[in-house]
Symmetry: C2
Subunit: 340 residues, 2 copies
């Protein structure tokens, strides 16, 4: 199907064909499942399996509408091939701060060149809508970050680790490449700026998501959970099922040329979070307050903050459903089921 100025920027899920780039991931696998549940005609999971895992999508393997393609965002011809005849592309492939710290050269290739390639493939094939996974990292880190972060909040970087700033700036670039392609080539797109995603099939690569999984790993071994500093620092998570619903809503809505924040019902302090994980793991262990590890990328803020998601409700008709207590219950249940 080829884009035309009169075409609606809505891609209904039912019957449509989707490619999820970076699909064998936390968010990708949940979105693939949701799109199939909602009647998608085809879901192609494209991944280079560098970070993604076949394990993440094996529960979907029985569905004839699911296709897996080993491909890499750095190889434009593979993307052009995979997006031919496709209605909607979800672009999730990216490295995050911890990987960016280990190898900024590769990280910028994946996040900048990779996004250029995805957009190019979408434009060449007249894909009807691109949903680009951005991040609250576009608002930055450090003392400047506090209060309600809305879509027009600037990017704060003073005092933040280089890798975190590189990650945020690479997402800003990806977003602007979408805007540029919309203006010059008519590409319809929605940018979803996720806060920290957590949930079933959780990985160990996000500096923030580790607060949950590392705490669980410690307390289930009977070790006291650790809190950095006094634990008053704010984190704002979003459950993976809410992120998947946001992606589907971004496709189905008539919205285009817009960026919206996607976050859970409310933020949490690291102390509350650690206590909640400890409680839900069935343990009675008091948190231990520790100093930050200077060798580790750490994402800080200047005070209490929240990623304001009200624009997403107005624009794509989405709001979060999963409270952290419920989300952590599900994550722990998944871990317990997969550990045996």
């Amino acid at each position: 199907m080829s884009a035309s100025p009169s075409a609606s920027p809505s891609v209904p899920i039912k019957g449509s064909r989707f490619v999820i780039i970076g699909g064998a991931s936390l968010v990708g696998s949940a979105t693939a499942e949701l799109l199939l549940d909602e009647g998608a005609g085809e879901v192609v999971v494209l991944d280079n399996f560098f970070q993604g895992s076949t394990e993440n999508i094996k529960h979907l393997a029985g569905d004839a509408r699911l296709r897996t393609v080993q491909g890499d965002v750095l190889r434009l011809p593979q993307l052009i091939e995979a997006t031919r005849g496709i209605d909607g592309v979800l672009h999730l492939a990216a490295v995050m701060s911890l990987t960016m710290d280990r190898d900024p050269w590769m990280g910028l290739d994946v996040n900048v060149r990779g996004t250029q390639n995805v957009i190019e493939a979408c434009c060449i094939n007249g894909v009807r809508k691109l949903v680009f996974a951005s991040s609250n990292a576009v608002y930055g880190y450090g003392p400047g970050v506090s209060g309600d972060l809305v879509e027009a909040t600037p990017f704060h970087s003073a005092g933040a680790p280089p890798a975190a700033i590189l990650y945020g700036a690479s997402k800003i670039i990806g977003e602007q490449l979408c805007r540029d392609a919309h203006a010059k080539r008519g590409l319809d797109y929605v940018i979803v700026r996720y806060s920290t995603v957590y949930g079933e099939r959780q990985h160990y690569r996000a500096a923030n998501a580790l607060y949950i999984i590392e705490t669980y790993d410690r307390v289930r071994q009977g070790q006291r959970p650790r809190v950095i500093g006094d634990g008053s620092e704010t984190k704002h998570f979003v459950h993976v099922s809410d992120a998947a619903r946001a992606n589907a809503a971004a496709f189905a809505s008539g919205a285009t040329n817009v960026a919206v924040n996607i976050s859970g019902p409310r933020p949490v302090t690291t102390l509350e979070l650690v206590r909640l994980v400890t409680e839900l793991a069935g343990k009675d262990l008091a948190p231990e307050h520790v100093d930050p590890d200077p060798g580790k990328v750490r994402l800080t803020s200047g005070g209490p903050w929240a990623l304001d998601h009200r624009a997403a409700e107005r624009t794509i008709g989405w709001r979060p459903q999963v409270e952290m207590r419920e989300g952590i219950k599900r994550l722990i249940a998944w871990r317990q089921a997969t550990e045996k």
Copy 2:
């Protein structure tokens, strides 16, 4: 000479060997001249001559210490070859907003991959200091930009054109790659965040610098100068000789791992600027107020602002010397001398 933790991050100009990458440019040619005047042992001007011009450096051609190399920041081996045995590298090669708008793919290659390559070459060859040309673009554009912009001011982008944001974000990435290389590989560096550079050998590629040269081009033909809107918008320029002095000061000072703003004595409104250029061109023509050209990248702000350069005085011992009246006189004298 190989870098070691005990080596001073000062590179005295006298007797030292320099490479200026993007050297056949406005800032590059002025800096080459200054370094030669101050007794540099060698100055290598490396340029691909895509934007730079041999015209810009022909006045230096008689000096045996000057060497010109045709090279490209996208070709790492050329940079490794050119920086062997070099004490100081000044990295100026970049595309600005207007070129970024025409070809964002190429623009990101030059500004991101190009800077990765320059840093890699410096680290491989143990270059003693890198001076990286950044920009007040790291503070962004649009309604959020007003007041004194200091080194910790965040990046504002709401409402700005994609190409301007891409340019600013690419400079943020370049800066963070310097910080990362300092932390992991001991590279000493100073980032100089220039405001809009103007002066002799002025080109037509900067969205802001055009206010001077386009006004001059109109009034010398007897046409009324044009001001967009009411002309109250702030611009902050720095004369090319002051930018060149800042580069030399960045090398010679003991500063490292730091970014400083480099701007002229004070900002100006576009109306004041247009009147000044008209007066100094010897014309008596009243400005004509026009609407912005919607097809052109335009850089706006939210109110009066200034690029605060006081940190540069504390850090590298530099302050601007050339007032706009003097700088525009010099620019016009150069234009008149080259036009006949």
